[in-house]
Amino acid sequence: MALLSKKDTSLILDPLADNNPITIQVLGICSALAITAELKASIVMALSVMFVLGMGNVVISLMRNIIPSKIRIIVQLVVVAALVIMVDQVLKAFAYELSKTLSVFVGLIITNCIIMGRFEAFALANGPWRSFLDGIGNSAGYGLILIIIGFFRELLGSGTLLGFKVLGDPIEKTGLYAIGYENNGFMLLSPMALIVVGLIIWVQRSRNKALIEEN
């Protein structure tokens, strides 16, 4: 027996493209705008959400039969918040440097609508293993878009990637800057992230017409 059945594989692969949480479901937009000015932050955020969503989905799925439906949203919030705080505390004690990088993201993880969305839509109705795969898949889809946006914003806005000056030095006028290229400072501001998301959605829907909604 294969480790992943066909159905399980689609749980992971679907959110990467045709059911992407950001470009199709339009969830998690706020954090996609807030922290994608540089590639490193995008990657860190993607990994953190993957961890929280994977774990959270499993916890919620294990509890799905005993959660009272009237307060299920509150229960979900408590689970995410508790998970995030525990991870933050452990990192602060044992990996202080890493926790300093992550501190900004903690609040953003808790409020990420993808997490609540997957708890509500999937983990409450499915077993732990499938929920775990769903969590990983959705956070990977989210992370993929984040990394694409981060890549373009950092490259065009600051002329760097992961902090390395790939286009030359804008002040010393070396590399591309020697022939008159300028960084587009506008890329560093959040509205441009929204425009990049828009472009990704455009490209994706023109390649796969089935995704276009009828009005």
């Binding site: 922290i35 994608t36 932050a41 229960v75 408590v78 609040g107 914003r153 501001l189």
Partner: protein, 250 residues
Amino acid sequence: MAVNTDKNSYTVIFAAVMVVIVGSLLAFFASSLSEKIQENERLEKQQNILYAMGVNDNVDEGSVNFVSTDKVADEFKKYIKEQLVIEGDKITKDDNAYLIDLKKQETEAKAGKTRKLPLFIGEKDGSKYYIIPMRGKGLWDAIWGFVALDNNLVVKGVYFDHKGETPGLGANIKQRYFMDDFTGESILNGTEYAGIEVAKGNNDPTNEIKDDNEVDALAGATITGNGLSTMIKESVKLYKSYLESIRAKN
């Protein structure tokens, strides 16, 4: 066994049990790790102070590298010769002055008490460094830093940090290229304690002019930059009388 999860009594009991479990779990984590976390924060403060006076493990032009955590306690003892607490006109020595909580002092000052101002005197290669800790507001949350001055009140080095500025924008106040710009700037403009302005529209992006009390701002981080300017200006004012006495000694 089927439980009726829709009953009010069940809902209340579930909520109560959940709160107790999660609460005790978090409390357990917080209390069992707090000692280690505090120790980390203490060492980080020492690293920051040493960084401002140029004691660090920087290898290249690009990144910030502190003295490693296992060496920092010894280095701190070696380089920081005196730690002072300034309370109005009274100056006392205190080897734990670096642990003074600036935020707490700020609130106490608002309540009318005399503020305790910590100041560290370091010595490296025969020259003295006066290191002022400061704290202010960025865009989202607190920003803080340490500024090392020489006898003429010229900046020898700085370290800035923040709690939650935007990554890629305001968070860049802790990047090398930004912090290195401060070195060589004077906090004096003539005899006025002007501080150092984080200036937009400054015609000096490589920061070659050192007597303009200005450094080049960060694109897209206006409010963090303004907060930083205000922080330096206000802190310099607080320490004015002590800084006067350093100048007078010269």
